[in-house]
Structure formats: structure tokens, C-alpha cells
């Protein structure tokens, strides 16, 4: 396989981008662990990291996370087989259900975080 195989086709390229998005996401999550550790010292000694560079990095990582999630959830309809009354549910419906669950989970987690943060 030539080293540049992933540049040969749009599909390969998008796949590599999808896989690559996991890397900055992992870095951001490591950073989150550092922040949690710092916050463990108590509110008086904690100041959140708010430099412009970090905000820009976070926004980019958010876009990557959205791309990763959307590509992943769109595929769930292909992967998950659910039968209702002996007939398989249409894959579009399964993907839609996953997106709804994703939205509900995001709202609930956001709500809980804001609630405890106050």
C-alpha cells in the first residue's frame, strides 16, 4: 500500500479525518482531567483556564466531536437490527432515534452540570 493511499479517494480521506478527530478529542479530555484535578483543591484556589488559544482549541475540538458523533450516529441504523412484530425497523428510524437520544442526553447532562455548577 502506498503511504498516500488515503488521499486517493474522497471516501478514504473522510474516513481518515473521522479517525483523526479522536486524537484532539483525547487531548481535550486529558486537559479536562487536569482541570478537574485543579478544581479539587477547592473553589478559592481554582481559576478556570480561559486563554483565547484554549477557547479556540475547544471550539475546534467541539466541531471534531460533532463530526465524529454525526458520522457515528448516522451509521447506527446500518448496524443495529431491531425487529418489531417480526419485521425489521427501517434503518432511518433507528438513526433518528439515536439522534433524539443524543440530544436528550446532551440536554440532561448540560442541565446537571449547570445545576451543580451554581
Amino acid at each position: 500500500m502506498p503511504a498516500g493511499w488515503w488521499t486517493r479517494k474522497r471516501h478514504y480521506f473522510l474516513y481518515v479525518v473521522r479517525e483523526f478527530t479522536a486524537l484532539p478529542l483525547a487531548l481535550w479530555l486529558l486537559w479536562l482531567l487536569v482541570e478537574i484535578k485543579r478544581a479539587g483543591d477547592g473553589p478559592a484556589r481554582y481559576s478556570p483556564h480561559g486563554s483565547t488559544a484554549f477557547v479556540v482549541f475547544s471550539v475546534i475540538v467541539l466541531l471534531f466531536a460533532l463530526y465524529h458523533s454525526v458520522t457515528f450516529l448516522s451509521l447506527t441504523g446500518v448496524i443495529i437490527r431491531v425487529k418489531l412484530f417480526d419485521r425489521p425497523l427501517p434503518s432511518g428510524l433507528i438513526s433518528l432515534a439515536m439522534f433524539v437520544l443524543w440530544a436528550v442526553a446532551s440536554v440532561v447532562i448540560g442541565f446537571v452540570l449547570i445545576w451543580f455548577g451554581r
Binding site: 488515503w6 471516501h11 474516513y15 479517525e19 451509521l75 448496524i79
Partner: protein, 246 residues
């Protein structure tokens, strides 16, 4: 009106003479809109250069033997129309990711070995005597695996799969789709015999879901779907208390 012509650049390779494969150009008449790449190769072989080697048989997308790279994409050459490429030249190469035997002919030994390893036949714990009648199935039971039974073993999915290209130990798309076809068949009881092969690290777990196998599959088998469903199934067997059922 001058005769329409098209250029075919085909891989030539004679292991006894050539160090590596190279392309040879042939300009041939494009006399019929229904001509496919395989017709062009047949024209070259019969009228221009009889030494060109390639596989084919049915000319109707059934036998799966005429798969080649057409302008970099794995295609059945009997199903790739010249009109979709003309006036550009068409580059015809042997399927990616396989060793070349000669010209456009690849060595499919590895694929055959993998197909066999998943035991692609109905396995029964106890054979039912013929006199006991047929194994009946409902339409819904057939629908469960119908899509995965359409495979014609053309190997286009292997040529499209970068994971197989990087690691030829990977069981690969068509073999896993075929395993799923039998595992979903209500008459089959061979899941446990196939699990060590499909659940292996070189089985479904080697796949990182590029998805190109399903894009190039000429029969709509969707091997990527078979692989991801198998991943989910094998995981469920592992985590659910009743998972290790037959």
C-alpha cells in the same frame, strides 16, 4: 464521420521477463455504445495482442471473475461501460491488494483460504435424514440473510479495503458477510464453529469501518454492515447473561 476510438491502458506483467508491472496503451475502435471494458479487453486480445491475460466468464455480472481496477476503482469489467469514460483513456489494472500472477490476473489463493475458513455451508448438530422432509423457512427468515447471500466472490471489496491492504491477515469483507449469511440462516447451527474465526482479532475487530467495501460491491451485499452487525452481536454474546446462546 470518423470512427470513434478509445485508449485502453492495461497492466502488462510477465514474471519471467519483467521486473515490475507496467502499462501498455492500446487504441481501439469504440463502435457500440453498449461496449464495456471487458469487450475492449476482448477486442485487444482477439485483434491486437493475443498475449494479454485476464479472467472472465459470464459477461453478465454473475460469475465474479472479471474484477479489475478501472481508473483506480475496483469494478466488474463486464459492467463498466466505455461510454462512461470516453473520450478519456481508461486505465485497467489488476485488483489492488493481491499478488499479480500475470498481466491482469491476480492470485486469489488467500481469498479462497479465507472463504473456506468460515465454513460457508449449513452446519447441523445432527443431520436430519432426507426422508424427514425439507428444512422449511418463512419469507421473513429468508429476508434476514438474503442480502448477504448475493455475494459473487468478485473480491472487489478486498481491493477497496485499506485494512486488508495493510494487513492481509484480516479475514476481510466478503468472508465475514458470508459467515453472517450462514449465522442468520434459521437452518444453520454452526455459529459456535465460526465464532473463533470471525470473533478473532484478525476477524471483525480488525475492521475500522472505512465502508468502501460496501460502496464498490456490485451486488449490494453491504459487507460493512455485516461486519458491524457481527461486532455488535459478538459483544452482546459476551456481555449479556444469556448471550452465549446458540
Amino acid at each position: 464521420m470518423p470512427e470513434k476510438r478509445i485508449t485502453i491502458k492495461a497492466t502488462r506483467y510477465d514474471p519471467e521477463k519483467d521486473e515490475k508491472p507496467h502499462l501498455q496503451s492500446y487504441e481501439i475502435p469504440f463502435y457500440d455504445e453498449s461496449m464495456v471494458v471487458l469487450d475492449a479487453l476482448n477486442y485487444i486480445k482477439s485483434d491486437v495482442d493475443g498475449s494479454l491475460s485476464y479472467r472472465w466468464s459470464c459477461r453478465m455480472g454473475i460469475c465474479g471473475s472479471c474484477g479489475m481496477m478501472v481508473n483506480g476503482t475496483p469494478k466488474l469489467t463486464c459492467n463498466a461501460f466505455l461510454r462512461d469514460y470516453w473520450p478519456q483513456a481508461i486505465v485497467v489494472e489488476p485488483l489492488n491488494n493481491f499478488p499479480i500472477i500475470r498481466d491482469l490476473v491476480i492470485d486469489m489463493e488467500d481469498f479462497m483460504h479465507k472463504l473456506k475458513s468460515i465454513k460457508p455451508w449449513i452446519i447441523r448438530k445432527q443431520e436430519i435424514p432426507l426422508g424427514a422432509g425439507e428444512h422449511r423457512q418463512t419469507n421473513e427468515q429468508i429476508d434476514d440473510f438474503r442480502q448477504f447471500s448475493q455475494c459473487i466472490n468478485c473480491m472487489l471489496c478486498y481491493a477497496a479495503c485499506p485494512v486488508y491492504g495493510l494487513n492481509d491477515e484480516f479475514l476481510g469483507p466478503a468472508a465475514i458477510a458470508l459467515a453472517r449469511r450462514y449465522n442468520l440462516d434459521s437452518r444453520d447451527q454452526g455459529l459456535k464453529q465460526r465464532l473463533p474465526v470471525i470473533g478473532d482479532s484478525e476477524g471483525v475487530w480488525e475492521c475500522s469501518f472505512v465502508g468502501e467495501c460496501s460502496v464498490v460491491c456490485p451486488k449490494g451485499v453491504d459487507p460493512a454492515k455485516a461486519i458491524q452487525q457481527t461486532k455488535l452481536d459478538t459483544t452482546m454474546r459476551f456481555v449479556l447473561p444469556y448471550g452465549n446462546r446458540e
